[in-house]
């Protein structure tokens, strides 16, 4: 009798836990739909597959989608609803950010001793390798609408493997810490830039989930 009692008390608790877990997770149909879309998009030769594997990386990719949409819209509306001067200013800001990411790549490369240009990011970018990455549940398949978006995507592809390398193998964490802080600060600035560009393009902006935590982290580190 006592065994039956125990089962009766445990079962409802487990059921509640399962229900809560399901609420938090995506339903299977959505996951399957996203996976199918990713596998379809990856066949596009212009697609870029990104698997950032870090929290900062995921945030950067989410912002990159917004940024690319904004830059593309600004270019399309140039001379119509947005003045040419405003477009020039926006594109200048976008280029400045790309240069900043390149400088960051250089810093990371120097710290890790890995040349992200020389070791073959693109050498491995075969259709099979892209499919392999796209099949990962937390990867993104990005089809850039603008050259600026493409440049940022390629920078992300270079930076985050180096960040993982630095995080896992660094023996001097004072230097690694500086690199991590600079990447978090870049993400905060990227968020501000994306917001500004979306406003210029007269598009809706919604702060990606988790950005608040990163802003707090950036503030704490500074």
């Amino acid at each position: 009798m006592s065994e039956v009692d125990v089962v009766e008390t445990v079962e409802p608790t487990e059921a509640v836990e399962v229900v809560e877990a399901n609420v938090q997770r995506r339903d299977t149909a959505t996951t399957a739909r996203i996976a199918a879309r990713k596998m379809r998009d990856v066949e596009n030769p212009a697609s870029i597959v990104i698997d950032p594997r870090t929290r900062e990386g995921h945030m950067m990719v989410k912002l990159m989608f917004l940024y690319d949409r904004a830059v593309s819209a600004i270019r399309m509306k140039a001379g119509l609803s947005i003045t040419i001067d405003k477009v020039n200013e926006s594109l200048l800001q976008a280029n400045e950010f790309t240069q900043r990411l390149d400088a960051l790549t250089g810093m990371f490369s120097e710290m890790s001793g890995i040349n992200p240009y020389g070791t073959g990011t693109f050498q491995y970018e075969t259709p099979e390798a892209k499919r392999l990455l796209a099949a990962r549940p937390r990867s993104y398949v990005f089809i850039p609408q603008s050259e600026e978006g493409r440049k940022v995507a390629l920078s992300i592809k270079r930076i985050f493997p180096l960040l993982i390398h630095i995080r896992t193998t660094s023996t001097d964490f004072a230097r690694a810490g500086a690199a991590i802080t600079s990447i978090i600060q870049s993400i905060v600035d990227f968020c501000n830039l994306s917001e500004q560009l979306l406003k210029t393009a007269k598009l809706d902006y919604e702060i990606p989930k988790g950005m608040g935590a990163l802003v707090s982290a950036a503030a704490a580190n500074i």
Binding site: T126, L132, P161, T169
Partner: protein, 210 residues
């Protein structure tokens, strides 16, 4: 290229003692791979940079190896790359068996070059030890299968090898050696004859002569 058999540079990201594999980051990419400890040529630590060949890609996971024949072949090609560029030698086959501690690599000389003499200065033990503890033995390739088997039995001395008979119909090779040298030709646990068999791609049997 991320294809089976290709050599890739990788860094050890995780090396947990109770895990059977190292987690490796393939340099310059976002791909991660697993290097099974039994397939690792050396004892690795976190942060070690090494090279390994792609052993398999299944269920979205990339498995690397530092003990497979393609790895030894690519490693030899890497070490003798100046000779390959000058078109002096060509690496033809590679063979290794588990636990043997050595791999046999068949090389052929181009434009009248002696492949073993040309390759020897490049296959230095200290150069090989950077990547694997396995010993690399060079074998002179020959299109004559009987001669190829004779060459492949190195370090067994050729004078001790009495006769090599190739049975074409059975795709089998019988090798007769001096009875007192039989152990040398067979190798530890039959590793030498098994490696030769893999290298030449035929069944090889060793018998004492007379």
């Amino acid at each position: 290229m991320l294809k089976i058999g290709h050599l890739i540079p990788a860094t050890v990201i995780k090396a947990l003692p109770d895990y059977s594999a190292y987690l490796m980051a393939i340099l310059g990419t976002e791909h991660m791979a697993l290097l099974d400890r039994t397939h690792a040529g050396l004892h690795l630590r976190v942060g070690d940079n090494t090279i390994a060949s792609v052993y398999s890609i299944k269920d979205g996971r990339i498995h690397l190896s530092q003990k497979s024949a393609p790895f030894y072949r690519r490693l030899t090609e890497l070490l003798v790359s100046p000779l390959l560029m000058e078109e002096k030698v060509k690496v033809v086959h590679a063979a290794a068996v588990e636990g043997a501690g050595f791999a046999k690599i068949a090389v052929v000389g181009l434009n009248g070059c002696n492949p073993i003499a040309e390759c020897k200065p490049y296959i230095k033990p200290e150069a090989v030890r950077q990547y694997t503890n396995t010993k690399i033995t060079l074998v002179r390739y020959s299109s004559d299968i009987e001669q190829y088997v004779r060459n492949a039995f190195y370090p067994g001395h050729t004078d001790d090898l009495k006769e090599v008979i190739y049975f074409k119909e059975m795709d089998q090779i019988n090798v007769f050696v001096k009875p007192e040298r039989l152990g040398l030709f067979l190798g530890k646990g039959g590793a030498n004859v098994a490696t030769v068999s893999k290298l030449v791609g035929k069944q090889v049997y060793v018998y004492p002569a007379g």
